[in-house]
Amino acid sequence: MAIPIIEIQCIGKRYRIGAAKEKYLSLRDEVAKWLSPAARRAKAAEKEFWALKDVSFSVEPGEAVGIIGRNGAGKSTLLKILSQITPPTEGTITMRGRVGSLLEVGTGFHPELTGRENIYMNGAILGMSRKEIARKFDDIVLFAEMKQFLDTPVKRYSSGMYVRLAFAVAAHLEPEILIVDEVLAVGDAEFQKKCLGKMREVAKGGRTVVFVSHNMAAVAVLCSRGIVLDEGRLSYAGTIAGATQHYHRRTKVLAPTCLSERKDRLGTGQLRFAEFWCEDADGRRIASAVLGKKATLCFAYQAKSRIQNVSVAFNLRDQSGTILVNCNTADTGTDYATVPPSGILKCVLPVFPLRPGIYHGALYAKVNGEVADWLQEAISVDVVEGDFYGTGKLSSQGAVLVPHTWTVMTDGRMPPEV
């Protein structure tokens, strides 16, 4: 077996909560701390918080590893340690190759400098030599599709152009080990596709990639292996399919899914989804929908004012990505003529038709025909076994169950029974 290109051994990172909270101290506070015994005791009582603890795994050359976990699971901390931005409190990491990390696109872009100058600036910050940048310069410009704006200061760029240029530089970084944070959540849909393609090229090109993202679809496409972090500890390491499954099992929809913090959304923002949860027939919040029982999908939203002509849609996909269900107010002819500034949109499924498992889907709202909010991977619905036909029997075939009845009638050809 080959020697791992990245070896992570018992990595731990401790933060002092007091220190993490106050962004910076003034000298006076520090002096007071030394002088007053009460303050010194307070310092001793400061809580310790392990953002990461005992995390160990290794990565083979040429592997693409996805790191998955909820917010606060320690993904960013691990990434920062791997990128050498912050040191670990304990443990060691051995990396056998040139490392490049992309925690953000456009790091060090200076608004006063032109596009051309910023390519050199950003490239150098990412660790490219001047010769290397000069060699790749034309490719970068071509990829960013902005030859005519090269000598314009970046501050005059639209945000789309800015992101395109920034990603173009980043995409041409060619280290042996590439560490990437959610840089894919940038630009318009077209450009995102292009970026994803470029990333796949990198991953397939034999380079080692460590990728952190909330975008499960992107992780699944790019990575062959997956690591799941949970509260600073390694909770799963294995294939990407196993990791995504494990992750979804861990994040059962017990609490409402918070959508208001999501950054990776499209649309005008006239209406924004804030939370999602499921309710049963009695209006109680439930962690899992029951096959064959009534389930209500609830979407809390915030709008800037009372708005008119609202159309809402969501879909549900299975693990392989096939869309099984699509529900939308346009098809049912129930677009909302007007909705209050904040409220809950509810969609009732009288007989929940999907088999036990976890289903994910996108959520979407239009106001006056314009996309107001569009979230990929917005909802996930856990389904448990239920008695769909009320007979206590259920065969294993069919992904979607539909209520139906059977009858038989004579067609007039057979002679009646005597």
């Binding site: 077996m1 020697i3 791992p4 290109i5 070896e7 051994q9 018992c10 933060y15 220190a19 910076y24 101290l25 003034s26 000298l27 006076r28 520090e30 005992d54 160990s56 795994f57 290794s58 990565v59 083979e60 590893v65 920062k80 791997l82 990128s83 050498q84 931005i85 912050t86 040191p87 670990p88 304990e90 443990g91 060691t92 990491i93 051995t94 990396m95 056998r96 190759g97 040139r98 490392v99 990390s101 925690l103 790091t107 060090g108 200076h110 006063e112 400098l113 100058e117 050199y120 600036m121 150098a124 910050i125 660790g127 030599s129 001047r130 292996r225 690591i227 390694l234 390491a237 294995g238």
Partner: protein, 304 residues
Amino acid sequence: MPEGHCTPSSLSQTPDSDLADRASVGSPIELIIAPPKRWLSINWGELWRYRDLFQVFAWRDISVRYKQTVLGVLWAILQPLITMVIFTFIFNRVAKIDSGDGSPYPIFLYVGLLLWQYFSGTLTNASNSMVANASIVQKVYFPRLIIPASTAVTGLVDLAVASLVLIGMMIHYGYYPQPTGLLVLPLLIFIAVLASLGMGLFLASLNIKFRDVRYALPFIIQIMMYVTPVIYPVSMLDNHPVVKKLMLWLNPISGVISNARAGLLGTAPIDWGVLAISGCTSVMFFFFGLYFFRATERYFADII
């Protein structure tokens, strides 16, 4: 402390890590990330590898500095020039301070101002540089030293531009440098670089944790100007030998300025003793700042 129960996971088998095995990987680079040790050495090799980035930072600061200004690089000349005119009026004409060595006060003052403004400018820029580049520090790794160090180069460009006025004044007043003075000049500038960078590195690290530095700095610089022979000659302190000694020993810029005057205006021989003292002090400043910076550097991203 790594605990005994912590075992590598099954992502892939960890092979026996004997040295022969490692050598066979053939990759020349092996990077080990571990908790920082107490005493950090300077990784000169790494600094050399990042020389392109150093150039880029210096070049950025130079090219951004006068963007969207009408006067542009003229500012580098105007600042010391106007200061020189006003100071000459107040300190020479009104307060009757003289150069003390027979040279005209304006040119005497201008030499002092050039070096002083280099020192104070670099000190200010270096001290604020880490905070100003916080967004980069939090996102990318490179030797942090590059950021404050590049400010020393930026200041040299202003110094060179402002020196053009000095050449004009030399011709006007008929004071020319002595050959040894010209030879010593690079050394004087080097001492100024070390001294300003040493203090700058110290204050830059301090500034990350305590933003008080930002407010204290203008005040410190103002005070320092009065304990540096910028507007008066060192000889004025002849009646206060203790003060004079302290100034020469503790403030490396004093020796730089007095020797620059002697060498560039040819009014006195180079004082090698004072020069040696300034050199030693500035080297001490520099290494103190450097190690203080290195010792705190690794936690910058956590607290900036």
